[in-house]
């Protein structure tokens, strides 16, 4: 009995025509900004203090305390991890949980940052369970409600902002000066990065 994708999103790009809708690289590079990249590479230290403010974003007041909201956000991350957990390599789940506990600690958290959206966590787990990704990324907070995954190989780095709805926005920098930025559905990410030897970040040895 032949089963096909019951939801088109499973196999086809989110954008009907991926190339047409892709954000121009120059604009994208600007929108991701060096600030986000710096933030991502400064893993474990939380996010840039004034990032939200520089983007003109306003925080939505909440009746819940910051500590309670961060507790919920940590819980959401851990709940989101569950359906992917059997596909994570040994030890990843525990280390990611330790990283998120540290990143979403109220002592570390910048009050101007937006809490990370559940949809961003979903994109993150879809990304790290892609076939061919064998190295665990470092994680950081974009300050704009998204989680960022970072891989480094010497002086080459790949920073991926996990946007809602399975969209990955990347900036990469190759030793020697080459840079690239782009945005694509997670399903197409490895294809888009194929010209940059992504195995340097994703593969062991």
């Amino acid at each position: 009995m032949r089963y096909v994708a019951w939801n088109e999103k499973t196999t086809t790009p989110v954008f009907p025509s991926d190339e047409k809708n892709i954000v121009p690289k120059a604009a994208l590079a600007e929108s991701i900004s060096q600030k986000v990249m710096d933030t991502a590479l400064r893993v474990g230290t939380g996010s840039d203090a004034n990032f939200a403010a520089t983007r003109g974003m306003k925080k939505v007041p909440s009746a819940r305390s910051l500590a309670e909201q961060l507790f919920d956000s940590r819980a959401i991350f851990k709940q989101t991890a569950s359906p992917y957990s059997m596909h994570l390599p040994d030890g990843w789940r525990g280390r990611l949980f330790a990283q998120i506990d540290s990143m979403l600690d109220s002592d570390e958290w910048d009050a101007d940052d937006r809490l990370i959206a559940r949809e961003s966590y979903v994109t993150f787990f879809k990304l790290i369970t892609l076939r061919g990704i064998h190295i665990r990324p470092a994680i950081a907070n974009s300050g704009t409600g998204n989680i960022i995954a970072t891989w480094r190989d010497g002086n080459s780095s790949l920073v991926i902002e996990c946007k809602p709805h399975s969209i990955a926005r990347w900036i990469l920098s190759i030793e020697g000066g080459e840079k690239n930025a782009g945005e694509a559905p997670v399903a197409l990410l490895l294809d888009r990065l194929s010209g940059y030897k992504p195995e340097r970040w994703f593969d062991v040895g």
Binding site: M1, Y3, V4
Partner: protein, 251 residues
């Protein structure tokens, strides 16, 4: 009853998969009467340390018969461990211990469930236990072939199907309820498909609900002895519902 020798023999055959497909495992006690509020509060107080996150909820159910319709609302709460994987659900007439993925094996899960369900030890003093249930929801993630399709019979032996002339299936659901060869245990098996959390995959749910409503002892240790049997029964049902190609996906 399942003979102890049979349990031992079958346990020897239990395969611990590297990537167990169990997305949720649940052990449930259901009582004949609503638990008194004081008892629920006492149970909740004992849960708080181990399960710091509480999610209250209510279940609404409309029961209608001819011109009569009744809305039943049941209040309850689900408690989560710090890593969100272990849960306890307290409803008016049920107490449930659950484990979300990653599943760490029967011994670990049942050991913890026994501890948590023992909170209901006093419950037996006020109301009869009327149902025992063990439910394993397995999610089997299968990669699409190059044509964006998957042939379900390659992986499962129980599945929804349509005549070939009707073509592909987008969504399917099959449900069977079978008396098992083991005493009073009954199994409900549901197979359906869903959008996979993984990129480029389809997921099939194989939901095995094993329960009994007859010959239920009202003694805690005997209840747990009965639950012990289910490890063998649900494993046997699972093995019969999947193919070797399916098992390869768990390695």
């Amino acid at each position: 009853m399942v003979a102890k020798s049979k349990i031992r023999a079958l346990r020897g055959e239990v395969v611990n998969y590297k990537k167990p497909p169990i997305s949720e495992a649940v052990i449930e006690l259901r009582f004949a009467e609503v638990m008194p509020q004081e008892l629920i509060k006492a149970i909740e107080a004992r849960l708080q340390e181990k399960y710091p996150a509480k999610h209250p909820f209510h279940l609404s159910e409309v029961q209608s018969f001819r011109d009569n319709a009744q809305l039943q609302v049941t209040m309850g709460a689900r408690y989560f461990s710090l890593d969100q994987a272990d849960t306890v659900t307290v409803l008016a007439k049920t107490l449930t211990a659950g484990r979300m993925a990653p599943y760490c094996g029967w011994e670990a899960f049942f050991g913890r469930a026994k501890e948590d369900l023992s909170l209901a030890a006093k419950v037996g003093e006020f109301a009869k236990i009327e149902r025992l249930g063990v439910r394993y929801v397995n999610r089997i993630d299968v990669p699409f072939d190059e044509n964006g399709a998957v042939y379900i019979e390659k992986y499962l032996t129980v599945f929804p199907q349509v005549p070939a002339e009707l073509g592909n299936i987008g969504e399917g659901l099959a449900r069977v309820v079978i008396p098992t060869p083991y005493d009073k245990w009954i199994a409900q098996i549901i197979v359906t498909n869903m959008e996979s959390p993984l990129v480029g995959h389809i997921s099939f749910l194989l939901d095995i609900d094993l329960f009994r409503t007859e010959s239920i002892p009202q003694n805690k240790s005997k209840v747990f002895q009965l639950f012990e049997q289910t490890q063998v029964i649900k494993n046997e049902i699972f093995k019969k519902c999947v193919t070797p190609a399916c098992e390869e996906l768990f390695e």
